[in-house]
Symmetry: C2
Subunit: 431 residues, 2 copies
Amino acid sequence: MRGGLNNERLLGLKEKSEKEYAGVKAKGLKLDMSRGKPGPDVLELSNGMLKLPAGDYISENGTDCRNYGIIDGIPEAKRLFAQMLGVSESEVIVGGNSSLQMMYDAVARAMLFGAADGFDPWSKSKIKFLCPVPGYDRHFSVCETMGIEMLSVPTDGNGPDMDAVERLVSEDESVKGIWCVPMYSNPTGIVYSDAVVKRLANMKPKAPDFRIFWDNAYCVHHLTDEPESLADILGECKKAGNPDMVYIFASTSKISFPGGGVGVLAASAGNVAYIKKHMGFQTIGSDKLNQLRHVQFFRDLDGIKAHMGLIKNVLKPKFDLTLDILEKELSPDGLGSWHKPKGGYFISFDGAQGTAKRTVALCKEAGVVLTGAGAAFPYGKDPEDKNIRIAPTYPSLEELRAAMEVFCVSVKLANAEKIYNLFTTFPAKVI
Amino acid sequence: MRGGLNNERLLGLKEKSEKEYAGVKAKGLKLDMSRGKPGPDVLELSNGMLKLPAGDYISENGTDCRNYGIIDGIPEAKRLFAQMLGVSESEVIVGGNSSLQMMYDAVARAMLFGAADGFDPWSKSKIKFLCPVPGYDRHFSVCETMGIEMLSVPTDGNGPDMDAVERLVSEDESVKGIWCVPMYSNPTGIVYSDAVVKRLANMKPKAPDFRIFWDNAYCVHHLTDEPESLADILGECKKAGNPDMVYIFASTSKISFPGGGVGVLAASAGNVAYIKKHMGFQTIGSDKLNQLRHVQFFRDLDGIKAHMGLIKNVLKPKFDLTLDILEKELSPDGLGSWHKPKGGYFISFDGAQGTAKRTVALCKEAGVVLTGAGAAFPYGKDPEDKNIRIAPTYPSLEELRAAMEVFCVSVKLANAEKIYNLFTTFPAKVI
């Protein structure tokens, strides 16, 4: 194809894309697709929860949820989330509304006091975390603010490159952690294979206080009727003699309300005891009324599953539409690749090298705000400048159609500009 | 009087006390007065809140409180708590359900990152906090777990001994903070005088990153119709050229629900900007639905005041009863001293030296659990073993009467035992 290109044809291509772009820009859209947020159409499915608790404020263990007490969550909430995460009730700590806060606190606790009794605080030395990429920007920000060096590890459809992970953790005692979003990963949507989960659980880290930060944010967030399944990391860690190696996190932010959900942590008995000891200095207890509200609304795992079915009915058409438009607009010219997620909140788009930042800038100029290019990489730097996280959940279908039109036109223009610049800057080389 | 005592009379006194004690113990009470908790009679005054928000989930700035966003609280919540604390709206950060967590986080943030940009993390060196005593055990626990050395400072009816405070902060750069409960102090119930507040605001600490931790937990918790007033610490700090020297904390734990309230922090623009920057790594936002719930229920400061009037009607009889019993049972023999608080949650009892631990143990044996003796002092060590924190808010009046009977009988027995031991161990000296 390149053989047939000349400056004039390239200019023509670029001008055609510019014209299309001017057209979508003229529509004056104003859409924020920067974060993975549910839309009002999903939020309203949980409105009934806000009438609860109605009259009954007493936990099954007799604690008045309106009053002080219970550092690790009311028993019925622990049971509900134990079911959801496939762990035992005693392995669960139910917190406030933010699982990110529980992750941040887990890192901060290890920085200040060590990851367990008898270990040095992480802040005493220069430490490193492994970051499978592309990944979740807020995980990486926690490392960055704590001064933890991040080492990128590539991922494929099965999870992180385990050869690389095993080599890094076994060689270097300063490697203290790895961030994982194992199910419907943010942003790629992939699910870690059983083999990857087992290899993670069976690692022999040089650092005895190494921790897997297992952010199972999308554990029940299926988009198909045949949900993927994820191997039991805590069980595998126990089998491998590494019971303390993993912290599991989840929340109801994308089940009930991001602005008033419940965060949860699950870990070994040893980790739970250590964390509770430190939490005891930090708070008298998390919001038990909100925990009770959630239990009264969902009742059990079947209740959560039924609710997630309602959410799937809202979200699936948005994912389908997004994928259809990408397929129709970009596949014929091979202008990018993406995974079709069976759950979660994102579509991870890989365009041509060196086009992601420009594409996001063009979208913004045309009124569509996307997550910043590079956000899915440590330090916000995508070495190939090709990855863009698409978050199709918030807009209505009409808005999404308009936004994806802007996106595809922007991708085309960014590509046309790139090819034009490449050919016209180095004409001797390529023509 | 001592001249008239002999071993036999002392033994008689002790035996009389033992008999009284056996009598109350036989009643088999089971009462927990260990923490400052509201009773169900106070909690039910806020039950109406749990039907909110009803239908309207949108903040006045257009944010859907059910969704992500707003790190520092919805504007109407900031305004409500700004009124309550006498600061401006922009000086307020509304958090989750726990002001203790906001205090802990403020210390942890300074330990990890420094108290402000350009300052060393506190964890880089050995630091100290001033602790006016008796004080709040959970403040001291935060210091203890962080490895911060605590220096006790005596208090009187006007607040901490400011000569001592000024000397310590001006001499020693490692002194980085002071814990204050300035209004209806935990446990003494005193209110800092205007002069003390001004002297605090005008300190010239040797440490430029010194902070006053101003836990205004009882700012609207009056027990009389002529409430005490507290000078404006943030305003005084600004006037003194020390705008960043104070963090103010409060919560609705003892206004609405301890198990589902709202915590709040107020500080200078500089501090707020620094804290928000760090909070941005920690969470996407606190529970906005609970913030909205509180605003819809209380509406404004007048609403809070009216509600606190209802709470006063429940609590005042409990304080009155407690004080009456102390007066009637212990004053005639001079077996202790206490302040009559005009607000707050506690009565601080000072018995004879060396009797507090024994008194608390006797109460426990008779089924009445009090806060551990010494809890109001750093490291849990009351150097004189005389202070006991009485928390009269939780029990019903009947239970409180029974508990205070146990308490007074235990005080008497502890005193009788002490005097008996003293006289019989050193008979030559005293008889």
